[in-house]
Symmetry: C2
Subunit: 359 residues, 2 copies
């Protein structure tokens, strides 16, 4: 592994001049520049970051700390997004999975310090609240897909579950649906709460009577090993009197269960029952027939945006406190699983009440 001095010798200049060429500093004669470049080429010289770092303290490395690569493999897109930003900006990324283990997390922070990392992305694989103090973080940190209840000053980048669910609910109502089944995500998840709240708010805003809404919990249990009742829940809903014309699912996995449940009962989608999901897990949402209308969790963007934010913190560009925190939209992805109801079918007669949207 040749060093800068080897290059200097070959090019017949001093090591400092080589350094200048390598770092594109000014004040190098074109002719010298050429000679040095040639020598670099010939020797296959590659600068040594470690040595550079010993002097300049700029590692150009970012750390990513993830809790566990949960059952939903899609959240890896957060990491991809972060990497994309990093490589576009000359940074390298070190990733450590803690698997939710505290000791591993401790070790990871230490590793990051040893590597003189400039900043850390603290990524959770599902949207949740955590309990982290800024003082626990020995390095500049940005929270991704989570927020800290303990310390508001930690900047976070999270998906806006509320708005995603809101858009979906509005869409469903605009298509004329009034009898609605809602299958909730595992209540343990933060997103579950937000999504359900948005659903309720919109439904109330439109004056839909409670009687025409059926809500059930589709998943429950510890994250990672939850029990999924949504298949059965769907079938129960469809077999009740005046069944819902649309089933809104807490996420796409539940939507898959809803499809299976409905199809097995001989219902056609969306002719007999419409279905919407949430998250846009493409392996599911695009694969279903008809393709699923859902709201896309912006995982990739979360990672990308968070890296930008982290860079802001590192380079000290203001943005202190939670002022820098961002909620990113979950845009609705309209596919074919929601059928517009003809006017004639929009009454609520058989579910009691017939309130309509006020506008």
């Amino acid at each position: 592994m040749p060093s800068i001095k080897d290059v200097a010798r070959v090019a017949g200049v001093s090591d400092k001049t080589v350094s200048r060429v390598v770092n594109r500093e000014p004040n190098v004669k074109p002719e010298t520049f050429r000679r040095v470049e040639q020598a670099i080429q010939d020797l296959g010289y590659v600068p040594n970051r470690a040595a550079r770092l010993v002097r300049s303290r700029k590692s150009q490395v970012l750390g990513i700390l993830t809790d566990l690569v949960s059952v939903t493999p899609y959240s890896n897109d957060i990491v991809r997004g972060a990497q994309a930003w990093a490589h576009a900006n000359g940074y390298t990324v070190i990733v450590v999975n803690t698997n939710g283990d505290d000791d591993t997390e401790k070790a990871a922070w230490r590793t990051f310090q040893e590597h003189s990392i400039e900043g850390v992305l603290y990524v959770t694989m599902y949207h949740r609240l955590i309990n982290l103090q800024a003082s626990d973080c020995p390095l500049p940190t940005v929270l991704v897909n989570c927020r800290s209840t303990a310390d508001q000053s930690l900047i976070s980048v999270t998906p806006d579950d509320y708005r995603g669910s809101q858009a979906l609910t509005r869409h469903v109502l605009e298509q004329g649906h009034r009898r609605i089944g809602y299958i909730r995500l595992n209540p343990v998840l933060f997103g579950a709460e937000e999504r359900y709240r948005a659903f309720q708010d919109v439904v109330r805003e439109w004056g839909i009577p409670d009687a025409s809404i059926t809500t059930k919990i589709g998943m429950s249990g510890v994250v990672g090993q939850e029990i999924d009742h949504s298949y059965q829940v769907t079938q129960n809903m469809l077999q009740q009197d005046a069944p819902p014309t649309v089933i809104m699912c807490g996420n796409d996995e539940i939507a898959l269960q809803a499809y299976l449940g409905a199809l097995t009962l001989g219902h056609r989608i969306p002719d007999d029952v419409s279905i919407v999901g949430h998250d846009d897990f493409k392996t599911v949402s695009k694969a279903l027939k008809p393709a699923l209308t859902t709201a896309a969790l912006p995982y990739y963007d979360l990672g990308f945006r968070a890296s930008e934010a982290l860079y802001g913190v590192i380079s000290g560009e203001g943005a202190t406190g939670s002022a820098g925190s961002v909620k990113m939209d979950c845009p609705m992805v309209r596919r074919e699983s929601v059928r517009p109801l003809p006017d004639s079918q929009r009454s609520l007669a058989d579910a009691g009440g017939n309130a309509r949207h006020k506008d």
Copy 2:
């Protein structure tokens, strides 16, 4: 950021003694050891890897080069497996996604060299053949999920698609199925070839007549944007005269299509038709009702095993040439989507021919 000298001063010893303590070298008086540890604690000293590296040339860092995080997000488990090995063995991991771009790949190799990385895992996100020379790799390299047609000497760790498919086919035959539909994976994929070949070999070995086999291609087109015909293909198969009693799918995504196609036609699974997949994409295979019998792609193990192999190369423990290459088993995961056929239904009468397994 305190240095080893700050610690030395506080502990009242020389920097070298601190170094000894940090690296657990012998010949330090217990009392001195204690004092130094205390000083380290008090100052929050963390050794600086860069400085260490400048001298010792052992970075304890592995690089992971991935082509693209393809449509199947599951292959990320390869990376997880590699990380698991790394962290268990004191290594840190740098990941770079090339998105299949040659320039990015070039840049990645360079970055790896700059970081004095010890070795590289060259990971492809789907099982395929690549065209890489050992001479293209400036660092010790192990291929994961791919093999090089250009250079046999590159060690590779790949899944054994053939044996996975073989096990699945045998299972299906053992359950008494004789009229079989086979929906092929995109022929562009290396695994598609292997799996189909295994299927054919077993079927032939058992003496099943060609007439009772229906084979169709389920996906085609460029990887990442393929067209999926398998939904329609399934329905066609089920509507033919003497339809297959089991449909074997090139992978689990195709199996999902098969489920949807079958259910929509009113067929029950596995009562009317059995289905098997391949890959064990859990979001699909465990979610389906009934859960899918499939063969598990050992992604995690691939990554873990490959790291071990790479370490072997780095530390020069023989294992030269493709002698070190490994094919890892894809164990069958037996769930509920295959129904054993009662003897009375095992004839081939209506499909022409009635050959039986020879043993």
